[in-house]
């Protein structure tokens, strides 16, 4: 085929510029370490990489949320731990105080310590975090959760809000618990029903907390256990009425100290010598705050016992208080356990997130990172190619028939 002079030159120059362009691209790739220099180099890869980077950043945020959650839960956990320690000390004191070797004066000293411990518990329950937000107020973090009215009643002024954080794309976890559940909603008695001795009792009967056998039949007004001894020094009998004592007799029998009395799923036992018309109530368990329990305990210890009857009342009330303390301890323990479980869940999720992030980084790298060995080889080839194009151009351009004329 016939070639014109200008075409020959053009082809030669084109060859050189082409080599230069390829070389320049290889150089840019080597300098940045990336295979993809602009979106048009590989649009589908760029699209995938963009999506992967978003997932990576979002997952990193989840990890940071998880860390925030862990530190909040740790604070909560150590606070509850401290509370448990206090309550265990209270229980020891209560057992001590219940001992007949104590005098009114020594019981007063114990009561003083218990009041001191009560205010510590209130202080712990009103803990603030490092931002000045109350830990146990639910969502009302600027409102102090617990305070005592002039009448002596302890109230909760927070709400039931529970904060969750996002630790995974489909995973939220609670990082707080409202103080209401921890400190206020403790069921008294044995958790199902609560036994109390009537303060007007004149005998020396003391009732235990009782337990549930089968299925307890709740009565909104409670049951009343009455002891009867119509004949002085005669046999003592008992009868149990429902509907707060106004209902029918659902159980009755001869009284024997320490022997179980069963009715409607409840099993209770009385010890000692109850007097005629001494009454005991068995009601559905209700909410009794930890503070009220400690307050009751201190008040009981402060009451001076004079007669045998007052001693019996004292022991009844101490028994009730110790039972209620056990319920409080159980309740707080259960929240600790829940926190433990949540911390485990967060740890697992963090591991999953970590694995996912590693995978994503690997995918991104495989898509966008340069294969250095291949690129360096390409660079050498390009250099050779450019040299060859340049040299051949100069030599061919020199050839002309006019040189020989």
């Amino acid at each position: 085929m016939r070639i014109s002079t200008s075409l020959m030159q053009q082809l030669g120059i084109n060859a050189i510029t082409e080599q230069q362009a390829k070389l320049s691209e290889t150089q840019m790739q080597l300098a940045t370490g990336k295979r993809i220099l602009s979106a048009a180099d590989d649009p589908s890869a760029v699209s995938v990489i963009t999506g992967l980077r978003q997932s990576l950043e979002t997952t990193e945020k989840y990890q940071s949320n998880a860390d925030t959650g862990i530190s909040r839960l740790n604070v909560e956990e150590s606070t509850l731990s401290g509370t448990i320690d206090i309550l265990q000390r209270v229980r020891v004191l209560a057992l001590q105080g219940n001992n007949d070797s104590q005098t009114n004066e020594t019981r007063q000293y114990i009561a003083n310590e218990i009041r001191e411990l009560l205010s510590q518990v209130v202080g712990v329950a009103n803990t603030k975090d490092q931002n000045g937000d109350y830990l146990f107020s639910g969502n009302q973090v600027r409102t102090q959760p617990f305070s005592q009215l002039a009448s002596g009643t302890f109230i909760y002024q927070g709400d039931e809000g529970q904060r969750h954080v996002q630790i995974g794309s489909e995973r939220q976890i609670a990082t707080s618990d409202p103080g209401k559940g921890i400190f206020m909603e403790v069921r008294n008695g044995n958790g199902t029903f609560v036994t109390r001795a009537n303060s007007a009792n004149t005998g020396t009967g003391t009732i235990n907390a009782g337990y549930v056998s089968g299925s307890f039949v709740p009565d909104i007004n409670g049951y009343e256990l009455t002891f009867l001894q119509p004949i002085v020094n005669g046999p003592i009998t008992y009868e149990v009425r429902d509907n707060g004592g106004a209902g029918a007799i659902i159980a009755s029998g001869n009284y024997s100290s320490g022997v179980n009395i069963s009715f409607n799923g409840a099993v209770v036992a009385v010890e000692g010598v109850p007097a005629n018309n001494d009454k005991f109530t068995i009601k559905m368990s209700s909410n009794q705050s930890v503070f009220e329990t400690l307050d009751n305990l201190a008040a009981t210890l402060e009451t001076k016992t004079t007669s045998d009857a007052s001693k019996a009342l004292f022991h009844n009330n101490m028994g009730a208080a110790i039972t209620d303390i056990d319920r409080a301890l159980e309740n707080i323990e259960s929240y600790r356990a829940r926190i433990g479980a949540r911390l485990n869940t967060i740890d697992s999720q963090k591991d999953v997130n970590e694995t996912v992030m590693l995978q994503i980084k690997g995918s991104i790298s495989s898509l966008e990172d340069l294969d250095f060995a291949e690129a360096v080889g390409r660079l050498n080839l390009g250099l050779t190619g450019l040299q060859a194009a340049q040299q051949s151009y100069t030599r061919i351009q020199g050839l002309s028939l006019f040189n020989y004329m």
Partner: protein, 648 residues
């Protein structure tokens, strides 16, 4: 004296012919680097023989014509490939700019969206924290700034394209004028069929044609008189003989930021934007049509959809001051763009607003009145979306299903043929803005909360509540749910704030939803007689992060495009689309470039000057000239001999 048959004459003819041939060769050599030059060849033929005694005798040599070496077919290929190659080069250069713009870390939207939602995640872990709120507001501002920047850049590109259109049409008109002028000169000099055609003029004219082809695709027809007619578009003549017609860039009737191409024929002007293709002008038009317009439309849709869906969630939340039903971003839903066509004769008035962010599309629409009904047409594929009657009470609002907009006919007095251009999310990317600038105004909480009474003897719990209808006027009234009966479990609902009962003896099912006053809660578990549950305004709930969690969660919710795309996915597919078009343009550019190079090689092999060849020709004609000169010397000595004979 000398007849054509004698030696002198023959010698002279040789001298003249070879002299001429040498000058043609010199012309070729001199023009070796001239653009558009086709090498010329002197055609040497024998002269007419004379009849001497019934026998033919040669009379020497003649230059019959000087032809230029030119192949029309190859030239046509070069012309076409020039248009194509130029088209894709222009398209690719422009598309790469947009490609880099969108994917750029500091201008593109993706990083900004990510950081905004990162700030919301931080807010969700500490909703009352001032630094966290500060972070959200500042990232929100960055985000709207990014939208604005992108919109400005795209506007700049539109302006640049407008300038290019003006510049290219002006160049084209100048080239067409000079082509027409050359046509005239060529015809005056005898046209192409003559023996000595005006070769250089024709080369010049062909060069102008190539320049025209690089601007726009053309087709040519050669006339008998030697002039060439040029046609563009769907057959509009650009040059007819010595007459040139003009193209002009004029304002658009539908888009104030773009120009259209108009064709001037005498006193009439016709819009030909959709008909022009090829060359730089075609590249600019195609780029605008395939890249710029869709990008602007998608970006506007993203801005409008994002602002609206985010606001929808923000409004059901409560801020630190107890306020509800507030937007986070400025409202972009009302006041969509409606442009009545310039030729409307009726007095109808239409407004449009966005009603559903998920259904909103990137398309724009045309509302036409045909004398009977209004018809709403999708401009991207001319499909009919809906029809509305003109009669009725006005204003009437129609919700158009499937595309997420409401059309309100305020006044209806149209005439047949009236039409309205509708763009519901017009300029959304330019107008998106934050509507709040106080930290306390971010609604991270939910307006209501619920709790159970401490006196409850049952174990049932109540959920914290969700908002079913933020516009319910009694949303934040205190409401109590009291169990008035157990087995069967029945409850009463009482609105304490309004002092009225809402429901009595409602049967209870553990876990099922209960909705009153626009609030939905669930009670789960076993209640006891007289148990009370309270739903109330979330006063002082500064630590409530429920709405912050929802807002942060919008990032990974497929909320737009009928529930199939997240914000980032939509932006990602926009980048991907442009990236693909750029990559395709590059491939086409390379392919067309290769085709053009091939065609040019063939052209050169026919028309190009080869210096070695011309050098050989010089030697050839030089020798021949010397030989012819020798004939003269011989003829002269022959004559001298004759004279010498007669002198004796």
């Amino acid at each position: 004296m000398s007849t054509s048959g004698d030696v002198y004459g023959i010698g002279t003819s040789g001298l003249l012919a070879f002299q001429r041939a040498l000058s043609v060769t010199s012309h070729n050599i001199a023009n070796v680097n001239t653009e558009g030059y086709s090498r010329q060849i002197a055609e040497i033929t024998t002269r007419e023989p004379i009849n001497v005694g019934g026998r033919q005798v040669g009379t020497g040599v003649n230059i019959n014509s000087v032809r230029r070496m030119f192949d029309e077919l190859v030239n046509r290929q070069v012309t076409n490939y020039t248009s194509n190659s130029s088209l894709y080069e222009t398209y690719h250069t422009l598309a790469s700019q947009v490609d880099e713009l969108l994917a750029n870390e500091s201008i593109g939207l993706d990083g900004s969206l990510q950081r905004f939602f990162d700030a919301l995640q931080v807010l969700s872990t500490d909703p009352s924290s001032n630094p966290a709120r500060e972070g959200v507001l500042s990232e929100a501002q960055s985000l709207v700034d990014r939208f604005h920047t992108l919109d400005e850049h795209l506007n700049d590109i539109n302006n640049h394209l407008n300038n290019q259109m003006r510049q290219f049409t002006s160049e084209l008109n100048t080239l067409a004028a000079s082509f027409a002028d050359l046509n005239q000169q060529i015809v005056a000099n005898g046209g192409s069929k003559m023996d000595f055609p005006p070769n250089d003029l024709m080369d010049k004219r062909n060069l102008v044609l190539q320049q025209i082809a690089s601007m726009v695709s053309v087709s040519t027809v050669e006339m008998d008189d030697g002039s060439i007619n040029i046609f563009v578009g769907s057959g509009q003549p650009m040059v007819l003989g010595n007459q040139a017609f003009t193209l002009q860039a004029v304002n658009s009737t539908t888009n104030s930021s773009q120009l259209e191409l108009a064709y001037n024929s005498g006193s009439t002007q016709v819009i030909v934007t959709d008909l022009i293709d090829g060359g730089k002008l075609g590249g600019v038009l195609r780029f605008r049509d395939e890249v710029v317009d869709p990008v602007i439309a998608q970006l506007d849709r993203l801005a409008a959809g994002f602002a609206m869906s985010f606001n929808d969630q923000h409004r059901i939340g409560m801020d630190l001051e107890g306020d509800i039903n507030n937007n986070f971003f400025g409202d972009l839903t009302a006041g969509g763009y409606v442009l009545p066509a310039a030729g409307n004769t009726g007095t109808a008035n239409i407004t449009v607003s966005i009603s559903d962010s998920s259904e909103l599309t990137a398309d724009d629409y045309q509302m036409n009145y045909n004398g009977l009904n209004y018809t709403l047409v999708n401009r991207s594929d001319n499909s009919t979306v809906a029809t509305f009657p003109p009669a009725g009470a006005f204003p009437t609002t129609y919700t158009v299903a499937g595309i997420g907009i409401d059309i309100t006919i305020n006044v209806s007095n149209p005439n047949a043929g009236d039409s309205f251009y509708i763009d519901p999310d017009h300029d959304a990317a330019k107008n998106i803005d934050t509507a709040i600038n106080r930290l306390a105004d971010i609604s991270a909480a939910i307006p209501i909360r619920a709790q159970r009474s401490l006196a409850n003897l049952g174990d049932a719990t109540i959920s914290q509540g969700t908002v079913a209808n933020i516009n319910n006027p009694n949303l934040m009234n205190t409401v109590t749910i009291t169990f008035s009966s157990i087995s069967p479990d029945l409850f009463d609902v009482f609105d304490v704030t309004a002092g009225i009962p809402l429901a009595t003896n409602v049967p209870y099912t553990s876990g099922s939803s209960i909705t009153y006053n626009g609030v939905t809660i669930e009670i789960t578990g076993a209640p006891q007689l007289n148990d009370v549950f309270t739903i109330e305004k979330n006063t002082s709930g500064f630590g409530d992060n429920r709405n912050a969690l929802f807002l942060a969660g919008l990032q990974t919710t497929a909320i737009l495009e009928n529930g199939t795309g997240t914000y980032q996915e939509l932006y990602g597919s926009l980048i991907s689309d442009v990236g693909n078009k750029t990559a395709q343009a590059q491939t086409s550019k390379i392919a067309q470039g290769a085709l053009l190079e091939n065609a040019q090689s063939r052209y050169q092999s026919v028309s190009g000057v080869n210096l070695d060849e011309e050098a050989a020709n010089i030697m050839k004609f030089q020798q021949a000239y010397q030989a012819a000169a020798q004939i003269m010397v011989t003829a002269n000595s022959m004559f001298q001999s004759l004279i010498d004979v007669f002198r004796r």
